[in-house]
Symmetry: D3
């Protein structure tokens, strides 16, 4: 299972679980990390393995970014409640991949400011974040048949709740991915063209031919009963769809959206206080004002107006009340059911 | 108008506006602040005065806490758009009272960590935050007949959107305050007994006999088109109610809530990942589980369950995904229209 | 029990334990603390009350300074193991008084840099540290007959292990204090004249006429099986001595030391790398070199030699390898059994 | 000499020098300062006393603000070179009053952010900076007949080199102060009305009837051979003028300036990149553009122009390349020799 | 124009200007930068392109180091005022290359501490600073015929005002560079041998055969009317010299200096307070004391004297009042017109 | 002596000493380090070379980790006292290899958080720490015949005092290393199998065939008269053993220990307050409780017990009073003389 070439160093991470043993195991991925306040310290990433006999392997992950919460809540809950006898095959659960970031409640790692989702394939002799990426790349992804990676908007973005997959060169693989998105059954489902896919976990999994599903389930660095409910239902639906857990999926209505081009994204060119004129899910028409940025140095100034370049639905927005030049202000998606 | 006794130092703050002049003036409250990166620096707090002839004075404030946004958005907007000829009397607008906190996007001042709303009556020779409080106490509040101070939950709390007033010893004054709350016409209206009122701007204004209205209009350190709409409508309603702006109020339905005792508040006694089982506005019955706190050190652990002590409505909650021992987890309010 | 004058504000701290109830209670002193990362947060200081019927009250405290560990270890352990039926009277245990400092592992509070042991009598409207001091001053000390406050050297000092009391104006009270010191039965016992007693918890307790015992039980920001053993034995000895716990004290040999004057203290007048020429407990004679400070900017430089001004025993020393001008380098105590 | 009332605590500062002994003594003012990295640490402020027989006492100070260097250079140099037999009376030299600030190279103290020159009369139980102020107030100023306190602009301001005194209610005292200014013989001499004199060392000294001289000798957080030369010559001139050192003063031409009103000061109302149109010492006429502030968020924007309100000489300016709203941009002084 | 080999990733930077369009365009180089406070944030580097028809291209840059101001002032001003019809060819203006450093007022980037002028050729998948370097290396430098990069001493160094070029292996290229230096016409002109040229923007440009001119125009982290005047005149002179702008150059006298060897540089081997004995531009003879470093731990200590190793002119010096071991204290240049 | 291939950049470090000159030289390794507070700054690493005629070279180093003190004390002392005529051959002394870390009193460099002992072979164009490693790799190690590198536990670990060498593939080299360990004659001697030797100075030296001895001489970020005595005696014994200094070694008893497998190490899986049940040097048997970790969030909780997996001696332990999940709690070594 280790795809390292002979020249590669082994990963410094050692798991305390046996991936080939039946039953439920709760353990750690131990990553040695020497530092001023602990010369022989380690990062201990919680992991659960639930296995019974032969069957497919699902790799379920949250906390790829440390400030996104629907995934960790659903997965800590699942790790605690999923019994071995409910499973045929194997479920590997890592509720908080970038564990230092998750503990700090920040997108990136407080140790090295690493954005795990831009750190693949990682390095065994790199930063802490690169070592985690390398372990997923060389040890965990090769074990999986289907990969579900939970995201939300984090502290600085807010999204409509959706599951998503990418358009892929292998159309058979793409089809299986979108079937899994449909199985997840979030209120919205998204078809994405990743503009800059370099370094992503998604890309690493897809390049190995895995079925890969991701999500955005609101944001702001919080979660709610409603959005956690979507995540819990979605993960069980995906396990049922994969044939690992028995029983019927709990499906509901979903609305399919598209982000077809870079025109979907509006970036701020002003610093200030942001006032949205539409909310997530609202329909917009090309030319509509979607937000104003008020300058805050003095009163009485006219702010800048930002308009959408295309028709669609407000699918994502800047979350904090203040905004800086260069921040993504809003994303407008096109709806497949428009008209 | 200056209530200082002869022994008190004058405020170091100097306004660049003339409170007695007719017309629209945009200016600053300049507060000298010597520091390492500017020996002769100042804090410049934007202020707008709109006056026409005689009539009552409304003092409108936002940014008492620096991470609450409905007030600043509505007031920067009002300051830019309110014309003198629409006014009979005077409107004083300070969209960001604790301006250093507002610029930093934090509840308290980055200069001295001062919580402005616990710093009254302030001190002319105190910290920067205390100097601001002192200026409102001795210079601005005495000018006002009616005071509207906008709050929201900030980065760490989320609220149902409501306007509110306090129960007061002077029942005539209390009645005028609740009439102004009704005029604001938020989706919810709250009757509050302040348990620890020491140091509050509210208390300072009420002690001078002013009509005082405050709000909580959601939270999380953001604002939306919807909540800003409530704020904009509310402030115009209050100005019309006070007779400063002409025309009919735009009233809508409101639901009256109460926070009758300390039993409304649930504090966390565990650190971890919070999972809410109900959302804001949901009805709860005494004994219901409202949230779980999952420990995050390892998987497979049962978390702690938190239950409500009384029947009511989830009126406020902890916002971030992680929670610490001692944080306020949730507030359940009783509804006057219950049953 | 509340000694506040009518003009004093009540403490903002609320206990979750009932000091008058029989049995074992584990709870919190909840101190509201509003801050940027928790608008309605609190400091939750763990407390245990063990009570059975009438009898004297012992107040046992550790973590007055947050980086001293023998007290917290012995008191968390005692809080867990002491049964109500082993007690006649009451034992109040606060293993970590300056709880924010204790959690941070620092002498002073990370919130306000407050040194709790220089903050008495405190203020109900002061800093977090001052609020804790005020609560001990007005709520807990008045409940106590005997007070045992554990100290060690912390991260920057190291001490011979001793229990200690102060010379007091009331010789009867002083006698009872030194009897309690003898009961503690540490390897060393110290007679102290506090040169600057202003603001100390010791002084607050002594001024109320309490029997007050303190300790220094090594240091360096750590503890050992040996020093924890001294603390555990000492606290049980004191409870037996006070008649709260039945049974014979476990006494051992102790050596009595004195710090008669400011000549005992040697302060560094150089920055550098410190080399001690004698270790704790070693005998020294006036004029002996006790340490050298090597300059570290370049090699080949003669360092400064520091000599003792009097005969005695090295009782305390600077702990870290580097030293700064103004740091206390060493303390030489005189031994009552000398010659 | 100690002016403390019976209710005042003694200063915690202890000097290692004897102010009444003849000869040259180099020592410290030791101020105990307990902190996380040194439980029994101290601030050690270097001091030199040079005394021979009876005569007046001069108190010479630098480093009142920690980033101003002409004074410290001249005074460390003088402390090293002044011989007792060159003196009749006493010279007390403290080259770096706010020693923690001086070591950090910052205006204010890194310990408590205290601005020593706004901390008088200080407090014996206050912050470190307040304890230093209290010691000067109650121990050192009472010893002095003449006080020379060196200032420069520090890191964020730049000044024409001048010595200065204040207009005082006691015209006889004022006259003696200006005679000392003239004796100093800097290239410029300034007549100042202090607008906000509360908390200043100057005010403390003047209120005791002392002859008080201060300076501004350029700035930017540096010094040059030229400006240090002015300081060295000035201090010797003042000692000769006071009759403490024998010999003739080295006098040169000086130009007398005035800061008659708050119109002299121009504050920035914009953030940005500052471009001065005139340099220090240049003559300006009311209405002249003295600086532009370029916005830096984008190119192609017109900046704001700042004009002088009166005729005079550019006497001080903001030093760093960037400026913030509220910073003092420039000071224009009027010249007594104008026209 | 893109010199990347097929294996190289494209730059993540996207310009909002069209380098091939005629007219004046103000825009941004947008560099995506995901971080904790903006998940989809960007660095937006202002850029101006002024083009009319065919002709040579000048690339004008400031803010390579973020605390050097003559270049940014002259270039923000030029970007605002240069009209297309004044140009034949193209002028590309980037007033603040290392824009994050420029906004912070620091030499290196606050994001990654990158020194842009040691980061060439950069990396498209490296740090933010390396991405900027890569964009200049692969996108902007290839467009240019002549490159003028403004430097000054920044916060920690001060220089005589000079334009400079390097001795180069291609003597024809070197000649063209020095002709451009002469055209700039600063008060001083410098011939440099770069001892460690690895990673410099200079080296990158020179290696592509470009005419490259740089400057040092004083320092200290400020600018003055005089030094900005030199920069403004210099840039117009260079554009005229290049034939892009018509008209005669405004030439003045210049003095040619040399830095022939490492003997020119004096490094501090002591920490302390620096006292310069000569100022910039003063003549020195081998063996002269140019500065003293006073120890600051106590008074009465002899400081260290630093002497020049060769005859010449003080061309650069350490700027702040305090100095650390290893800091460059002074640079003595030899004058071509000496004798 | 420079082993760099033609493609490698030269080291930026320049020594001020001549390694081939006879006599005693005190100097610096100067490493240019440009930064915000010193544009042309350097790190100046003190070095001493003592040489007389031909003979072997010993390279003696301390401060590889910046918070370990026995080595620096012994080596600053040796550098000051070792005379050239006491030597036959050459002694190169670098008391503080990772000098920035040593000045900060931290394990890793405050500049780049580099752990020097995991940075070999280093890079001439890397971080400051990598540049230091590269200079030892390419310039100093090649000069040496025998290398003695002092370590202790630092601030976060404590060890029994021992000298140590590694098991090596070249048994002849291994034998010479252990002979040098025996010559050092510490109270304990250790035989080590390095589990992860990548990047260590040890490995770099051993790979060049050098005789390499290292130590652990207690810890906690301090030193004592006793442990410094071991270091001073050890280094002289090694120099005598190598034939560089004449005279007999001062040998004492030593106890040989082994760390045969990863079972020796116990890592914490809980956060909390650590209570050791045995001290360093105590004998333990498999299954013994060696420590408890008390949870600190509330009183009355049972902590976790940690047991040893094998018989042996407590050889190392976590030092600070608090511990985090993942920290090394304890190391049990097996004793060769057991039974």
């Amino acid at each position: 299972m280790n795809v390292a070439t002979p020249l590669q160093r082994p990963s410094p991470i050692s798991p305390s679980v046996d991936f080939d043993a039946d039953g439920v195991q709760h353990g750690f991925l131990r990553l040695p990390y020497s530092r001023d306040d602990s010369a022989w310290g380690s990062v201990m990433i919680p992991i659960t393995v639930v296995r019974r006999g032969d069957g497919p392997t699902a790799l379920l992950t949250g906390g790829n970014h440390g400030d996104e919460y629907e995934g960790p809540v659903a997965l800590f809950d699942l790790a605690r409640t999923l019994k071995a006898d409910a499973v045929q095959g194997r479920v590997i659960i890592v509720p908080a991949m970038n564990y230092p970031a998750f503990r700090a409640g920040t997108r990136t790692s407080p140790i090295d400011r690493g954005n795990l989702n831009r750190s693949f394939p990682g390095r065994p002799d790199g930063t802490v974040t690169e070592k985690i990426a390398d372990y997923f790349q060389r040890a965990l992804l090769p074990l999986a048949d289907i990969v579900l990676d939970f995201h939300s908007g984090g502290r600085t973005l807010d999204f409509l709740p959706y599951a998503a997959a990418h358009e892929l060169p292998d159309k058979e693989q793409e089809k299986r991915c979108f079937e899994a998105v449909a199985a997840f059954s979030a209120p919205y489902s998204m078809r994405m063209i990743e503009i800059d896919a370099v370094g992503m976990y998604d890309t690493a999994a897809e390049a190995m031919g895995k079925v890969f599903v991701t999500t955005e389930l609101s944001g702001g660095g919080t979660s709610s009963a409603k959005t956690v409910g979507i995540a819990k239902r979605g993960v069980m639906n995906v396990l049922r769809h994969a044939g690992i857990v028995a029983g019927a999926q709990a499906l509901g209505p979903t609305r399919w959206l598209d982000m077809p081009s870079s025109e979907c994204f509006r970036f701020a060119e002003d610093d200030g206080l942001v006032e949205f004129c539409v909310d997530l899910g609202d329909a917009v028409r090309a030319g509509d004002v979607i937000a104003r940025i008020h300058p805050v140095g003095r009163t009485g100034q006219a702010g800048a107006e930002y308009r959408t370049a295309l028709d669609g639905v407000l699918a994502a927005r800047h979350f904090p009340g203040l905004i800086k030049t260069g921040d993504c202000l809003a994303v407008v998606a096109t709806a497949e059911d428009k008209n």
